[in-house]
Every structure is written in C-alpha cells, then in structure tokens.
Symmetry: D2
Subunit: 303 residues, 4 copies
C-alpha cells in the first residue's frame, strides 16, 4: 500500500482500493449501502478501530457518500431532491441539533480558482441568522426554535499569510459556536466520481486534503468542538489517471512491472501541477455549490 499511495479524499475510494489489495484489511470497518432514490446511491463507511484507520489511511469516524451520476445535469427539481437527501444525511451526523445550536459554516478554498471555489460559493448562498438573533431575538423570524448560523470564507494561506486553521480557531474563540461545518473541494482518484459524489464526514479536514491542500488539521481535536466536513471531488490529479491506466496494464503483464514504474514516475514528474477536470467545471461549480447551500439551509431549518 505504501508503494501505490492512494491520492483520494474519498473514504469510499480508499475502501475500494484497500479491499482490492487485501480483503483482510477491511476488519474494523463497517459499510452500509442503499439507494435513496433512483440513481442516487448512499454508502456509509464507519472506521471503528485505529488499525482500520491505519489500513485505510483515513481517521476513525463516519463517512457518508452520496453518488448521483446525474449530479452534473442542470435539472433544478433533481438538484432540489438531492439537497433534501443531503440535508437528511447531514442531520444524521450533526450532534444535538434537535436543540438550538450556534453553528459556524466555513467555506474553504480560493474563490478565484474555479476548481477550488466550491466552499466560498456555497457560503455565498447560506442563510445566516446569528447577528439578527443576537440583536432582535429569534422572534425576528417568528420562530420558537432557531439556530444561530454564522459563516466565514477564510481564504487561502498564499493570500492571507495565515493557516486557515489559525483564522478559524480565532473566530471560534471570539464567537463561541457549538459546531463547525466546513465545505471543501476534494480530489478524487477516479474521474467517474468527478462532480457526482458528495462526502459528509464527522472527522473534519486533515492535512493534505482538498484541491488547495489546506495543510493544518481542522478537526474536533484541533478546534475543541465537533467538525463536520462536506466535500465534492472537483479534480483528479493528472498523474493519477496515467498511473491507473498503467496499473491495470500491470495486472496483465506481470513481467513489465519495472518498466511500468518507470513510466509512472515520468508521468508524475511531467504532470506535476496539472489536474483533470470536467470541461464544464465553471458552470458545475456554481450549480453544485447552490445544491450544497440548499442542503445546509434545509438541514438547519433555515429554509
């Protein structure tokens, strides 16, 4: 597993990869799968033990994946249904939201880089309430139960000179939310998952994840409050697709292994700083960010 390092932010892809190599490594992992609606598949991977976490290269916790092949299409009604299903899944990992909570939603990534703008764009469409409730009370919304929602787009380290985690930590200290939700553009291993898969996890964000490679951990351990992460794969590393093609080949030509490694390395070098995206990524990022913001608004009864 070391040799073929898994370049994916998706627990589901990590599972597939581990299972293929050594089924015994699946101990300590539970997987539950079902179809939520036609052509919408839900997988729930729970990593239960430290050993399983090590085998998977992912921290212990729950990873819910929604797969919808038509998520790239522009059908408004379909996206609305996806938002509702995502809201349901999101609620299942948000701790204690049957009571009023203060929730900070953070859009990670760089709004000026299309493939990395999912987080900022999602936050643009959220319904925030904290300032209104603090000034006028929840009666301003004619509601008896109302979460205090706040939202932040911290920017990326290359532009701020600060770790994203530093900015979030500071804002949490000052505004004291109960829960953090972070949204980030992910990298997948397989192009068939691009823009079609949503992952929701209670493990937060770990170094080296995401398109923009936000280095510091944004987790319950680092922030002191639960961190729910929502992500959608927006890119595949260009080197990965060559590696994958070559690996398939290796399974047929056992003798060619050394040579394949040579090609893989050369592909990696040349394809450094390149990635594979869908041709319509600009439009897709806008649509998917809207679907996510709707899902969050619904989950938090802000609709």
């Amino acid at each position: 597993m070391q040799q073929f390092q898994i370049r994916t932010d998706l627990a589901l892809e990590a599972t597939e990869s581990v299972r293929k190599k050594d089924a015994s490594h699946m101990r300590g992992i539970t997987i539950e799968e079902y179809d939520a609606m036609e052509d919408v598949h839900i997988s729930k991977v729970v990593i239960l033990t430290k050993n399983a976490a090590k085998n998977m290269g992912k921290p212990m916790g729950t990873y819910i994946t929604l797969e919808a092949p038509d998520l790239q299409e522009s059908d408004e009604e379909y996206h609305r249904e996806i938002s509702e299903e995502l809201a349901k899944q999101l609620k299942s990992v948000l701790p204690g939201i049957e009571e009023e909570k203060s929730i900070l939603i953070v859009g990670l990534g760089n709004r000026d880089v299309t493939a990395d703008a999912l987080g900022p764009f999602t936050v643009d469409n959220l319904f925030v309430t904290r300032h209104i409730i603090r000034e006028y009370g929840k009666q301003a919304y004619h509601a008896t139960k109302m979460h205090q929602i706040s939202a932040l787009v911290p920017g990326v380290m290359a532009k701020t000179g600060m770790e994203t985690a530093e900015i979030i930590k500071g804002v949490i200290k000052e505004t004291v939310p109960d829960i953090v939700i972070v949204i980030d553009a992910l990298a997948a291993r397989n192009t068939k998952r691009l823009n079609r898969t949503v992952q929701i996890t209670d493990t937060g964000i770990h170094p080296g994840s995401g398109v923009g490679n936000h280095r510091n951990a944004i987790t319950k351990e680092s922030l002191g409050i639960p961190v729910i992460a929502i992500g959608i794969p927006m890119v595949v590393d260009a080197g990965t697709i060559v590696s994958d093609a070559l690996e398939k080949l290796a399974q047929e030509y056992a003798g060619g292994k050394a040579s394949l490694d040579y090609f893989r390395n050369s592909a990696d070098t040349q394809l450094h700083n390149m990635y594979v995206t869908a041709k319509n990524i600009d439009e897709t990022t806008k649509r998917l960010s809207f679907t996510l913001s709707e899902a969050i608004n619904i989950a938090l009864d802000m609709e």
Copy 2:
C-alpha cells in the same frame, strides 16, 4: 451643527463644515497643508483635544488627506507616483516600522457590491509574507529585514452573521500581529471628492463609517494594538446633494427656511437607500484598489 448633521467620513470635510459655521470651534485642531507634487495636495489635520473631537464629530488623532483631481484617470505612471506619496504618508503614521513588525491588513466591505469592494480588492493585490517567514525564515526573501505581512477579508455582517470586529479580534488573538491596517470605502459629502481623495488616519474605524456601515469600532481601544485606517470616498449619499443645493439657496433666501427644510426632508425620505457614484465606478474601484495595494507594498518594503 446637530441640525445639519455632517454625513462624511472625511475629517477634511468635517473641518470645512465646522469652520464655515463657527471658526471658534477650530480650537484644539491643527491643520498643515502643502502640495506634494503638481496637483497633489496633502492636508494633515490633527485633533488634539476632547473638545475639538466633539466639535468635529471625529475622534482625537491624525488625519492625512491626499487630494488628486486626476486620480480618476488611468495614467499608470501617475498612479505609481501617487502610490509612492501614499506610502510616504502611511509610513509616517505606522508606529515603529523601522524595526520588523507583524502587520495584519484587513480589507473591509463586500466584494460583491462595487461601491463597497475597495477593501477586498486592495487585499487581493498585497504581498503577504507571514507564512513564508514562519516556515523558512526571512532568508527565503534574501532579506535582512522583513515584516511579517498577513491579510484578511472578513466579509460583511449580513453575509457572515458576525460583527466584522469579532472576526478581526479573533484572528488577532490567534496570530498576534503588532499593527492592524484596515482599508474601507468611504462616504463623502461632496461629489468633487469622489474617487479623488485618500484619507489615512491613526484613529481606526468608527461605528457608522464607510459605505457598508460596519457598526463596531475597529480601533486601538477595541483591539489593543494600533489601527491605521485607509479610505477613499466611493459614494455620496443621494440625500446630501439635494440638501447641499438647498442649503446654498437658504443662504440667499432667508425667508424660505421653513420651506427648504420641508423639501430637504422629503428629498431625504425619497432618496433613502440611494447613492451617487461616478459613472465609471466599476473600473475606478479596480484601479484605485491597485494604487492602494501598491502604496502598502511600498510602505512595507514588499516591493
């Protein structure tokens, strides 16, 4: 003075207004003026006493104003010269920067509202160094002296649910800078100052200032470290220009006073939520934000 409330963020306009009404109110205020270059006028207003602050409706401190009628033009070389002059003025109010400092630069306002985007756009072009110096040392820049520059675009309360001041406070607690510089779009009283005047002050930002009306104080008192504010008037309240025209008239027709007040009030009501801007404000905001970011980069030796 109560009756004719001064709707301006510019100390210079407040000075003019006060002087016109009662020259005796100018006690406790020093004004120094000179031409920095052809058609570039510098005014330095210092409010020295609490009484003077009360008369002016502005806190005690130093207000440097650069007036340049051609600031709206697109001449690159001219803007470069303005940036250098602004850098000089900025250095004069930045405490202790002959030594290495950690400086947080904050772009206030809403990047999606043209008239309010000056701050965010300025921050987009800054040269940040904090993350590099912390990871590799200042030798990464082959420099013996190097400030640690960080930058933040906090967003506006209607989008974040948090006071801008809360976000800045949190980030300061976590990253501990020595100085904060805030950039904001201002409101002027007189259209002739629109996009042609830059104000630099060591008094920070006060409630009710700026286009976006950021309510909480962002000052040395509230944040615990020096706050330098840089602003350019991007709008005039629509009601103001009618008031001004009517006031001029009142000086000629003493008898018409009551009637004038009636018209002023009716203008105010109808022009609520309207403002006057230059026709080319989209282009102007881009150009002026670049001029400001250059000025800051030069002042902090980041060029």
Copy 3:
C-alpha cells in the same frame, strides 16, 4: 419644454411631465391603465400622431409600462408572476408569433459596468434554439412549433470601436431573423421608478437612450425588421434629482426663478458623470435580468 428638457427613457414619465405643463399637448395620445395583480400596475401609452410624438419627445408607437413597487424584493414566486405578466405584455407587441419566427435577442450595454449590465446579463439566461433547429430540426425538442432563437451581446462602442447598430445590422444581414428584441438599462427621471418599472415598446432604441448612451438608432426604420425594446431604469442622472428639488421650490417662489436656474446649472456641472443608483444595485441587476430572461423564455414558449 425646451428649457426643462426631460431626461428620461420612460414614455410614462414624459407623459406625466407633458400633462403637468399643458394638458392640451396630450392630443394624439391614448393612455390605458389597469392593475394586473395586486400592486402591479400596467400602463399602455400609444402615441398616434407626429404632433403628439413631437410634444412627448418620443417616437410614435406603443409603450407598455409595468410598475411593481416590490420588484426590488427577492421573493422568487413574486418574480415568477411578474415574468408571466411581462411575457403576456411582450406577446401583445411581438408581431405574428402565433407562427414560427426567427428572433434575434440583443443585450445592449457593458457587462463590466453594473448599472449598464442588464442587457448582457439577461441574454446570459436565454434559451437559444437556432443552431439546434438548423442542425437537427425542431424534432430535437419534440415540438411541432418552435421559434428559432438567437442571442447577441454586441458590447459597447468604447470597447469595440463599432456602433452597436453596425454590429446588429451585420448579424441581421447574415442570419436574417424576422424580429429583433433589444434589452437595455434605462435612465429614469424619478428615483421612485428605479428598479421597479419595466417598459416594453415597439419603437426600438433611439439615439441618446439608456445608461450607456448607445448613439445610433436601433429601429424598424434602420434595421428593416420590427424591433421590440425592453428596458428597466437602473439610474437617475444625479443632476436630475437636484433639478427636481429646485423646480418644486420654484413653483412656490416665483420671484426666485433666475436664482434657481443658476443653482440648477451649477449642480449640472458638478454632477456631470455622476448618477444615482440603489445601494443594492449589484444584486438587483442580477435578479431583474433573470426576471426578464424568464419573461422572454415564457413569451417565446422556450420554457
């Protein structure tokens, strides 16, 4: 009437202005008014004679105005109803569309200037069909009747070096549509009409109209095919609101006339190249352009 030149693109405002000065000038003009729904007022002004056109300062033809005070609000359902009402009104002036037509829709204005971007933004959301029908036939849409819709954003003369009318003429010669619909941001005289009024006319666009002041005529006479123009006031000339306040005053103080003219002129000079807009113009332009594109899509059965 020469002295108080009417700076408005709205026939309705011209009517009001003329009526106020000399009711006899209303000969040759019919006005029909009714409420289409609650708080949505429709006015239909028809200028029937050359003499009436001269008195009004507007060409002969039909001007439909929809006034809706809540058009600035962000209620989606309300905007949908407005789109449907606009579609109905638009159909009433589109000649012969009970049969299949080829229709070119042109978004006038500059997409980089918020107040002038209504046309380009509207065109961004249109449903175009011409290329599909020409390649695959209307069966591609499973339809028995289908207009051929094409769309153009010609840009502004300062950026293209060409009159907008030249570009449209050329495209019409090459693609031979039956009808042209042009969308443009208008200038109103009264701030209460800003962003709340839609004008539909079969007279096209005339020199000096609109925010961007597109100089050449875009009319049936100049293009050889019917031209329907749709516009929404996005700005008021800053000089106008001062003039208006002064004019009201003049009605009370007959003696002050000369002095008022002096002030009006001085206001005009100083407010040259300034305009009054709503504070939320960036958001409003996006929303209203979407409402217009929906109206056009509905009117042309493209929904």
Copy 4:
C-alpha cells in the same frame, strides 16, 4: 497516421509527430528555428504544398511558434519582452501594415469558461480606435499614421444560436475591415506546451480547433480578407495523456499492442469531456491574455 490521430492545434506538434513516424512526409515543409532571447525559442514552419498539408493535417501557410518555459511565471518585465517579440512576429505575417489599415480583432471562446476565455480576455485590453478616427479623424491621436482598430467578442454557439463565423461575416460586411486577427485558446497534445507556447499563423481557424471547438472555418477563403490567428494551448485532452503514456509503452512491448489499444479506448471513453489544465489556470489565463493584448497593441502601434 489515421490510427493515431493527432489531437493538437499546434503545427509544431504535428511536425514532431509526422517526423517521428515517417521523415519522408516532411517534404514540402520548411522549418526555421532560432532563439529570440534567452529561453525564448522561435520556430517557423511553412507548409508549401497540398501534399505536405495532407501529411501534416494542417492547411498550407505559415506557422510561427514562440516557446518560453517561463511564460507561466508572473515576472512583468519578462512578459513585456515576450509581448515585444510577439509583436515583431505578428507584424511579419500582417499584410501591408506599413500603410494604414482597418483591422478587426476577434476574441473567440466563452468568457465564462476559464480554459476558453483567453480570446475574450485579450480583447478586453485592446486599444480600439475606429470609432474615434471615424468621428474626429486621426488628429484626435496627434498621429500621422493610425490604423482603425475594432474588436469583437462574438460569444459561443451554445449561447448565441449562431455560428461564430456567421457573426464575424456579418460584422465584416457592415464594417469592411482589411484584415481580421482572431485569438483563441488552443488544445495541445503535450502538457509541457501548456501555457508556454504561442502560435501565430496566417491560415486562420479551422473546424474542430480550439478548446471550444468552433466548428466553422474562419479563414481568408470563408471571409474574403486575410485572417491571422493567434493561440495559446490552455488544455490537453485528458485521453491524450493516457494515450501518450501507453504509446511509449507500446514501443517497448511490441507484443502488447492489441491490449494497449484496448486500454486506450477505455481511457478515451471514460475521459470524454475531461481535460488536463495547469492548477493555476485562472491566474494564467488573465496574465497571458494581457501579454497577448500588449503584443497586439505594440504590433499595431497603439501603445
């Protein structure tokens, strides 16, 4: 050659590919190469015969390629030097510009799709003169010689319902320029050419070229006046990089040929509608479009 179809808009890549397979196919082609400055390589490929055009899969004409590995860097001075070298090369293919000409510059592509926005963004920074010269004469510029420059961003067929070529033809008929320059984002075969290579050709644009696949010819034959095309590779087809890796492999494992074809096809299917781009493509597109607009401004003495 049929089997390994060359997916590239660069004549230089076609040359390399042809040369590798059968050097005899290089008859009828002249290639001239030199270094214009350090690390800036110029290649001039001239396809002289119909037979050579057939072998190359490119029309007869001149193809100048500038290769600069540092073109991705943000060094302003370097980009200025590149602009000057490009201006020199551009002048060498612009017919008769020692005399005053009327020149239409067209930015092909979709400004809302980052990888396809090079053309529109380049046109945004051009210096246009036609409208001024026609109204005030060239004395408006205090010049004795002055080209009439006009510029157009026609948009893409999916948004306009019209072939790009139709729009250009119409505008040419109406405004009668002497020469057309078109700018387009290209597709390369090799990632090492991405954002580092500029191609200038007098053969215009041919069906199937470019990122956005503008189908109709934009050539001297179709438009009746000389067409100079300028392009920079912004994407590589994702399928291509897998094909290339596999092809290299095939040269070592002659026996594996059939299997390789299988993998290539499966890669093609899955990677359909995907492309490979540099990670910083948003920033790169802005910078390169500025470098191109400077080059054109210099070549046409508009600086």
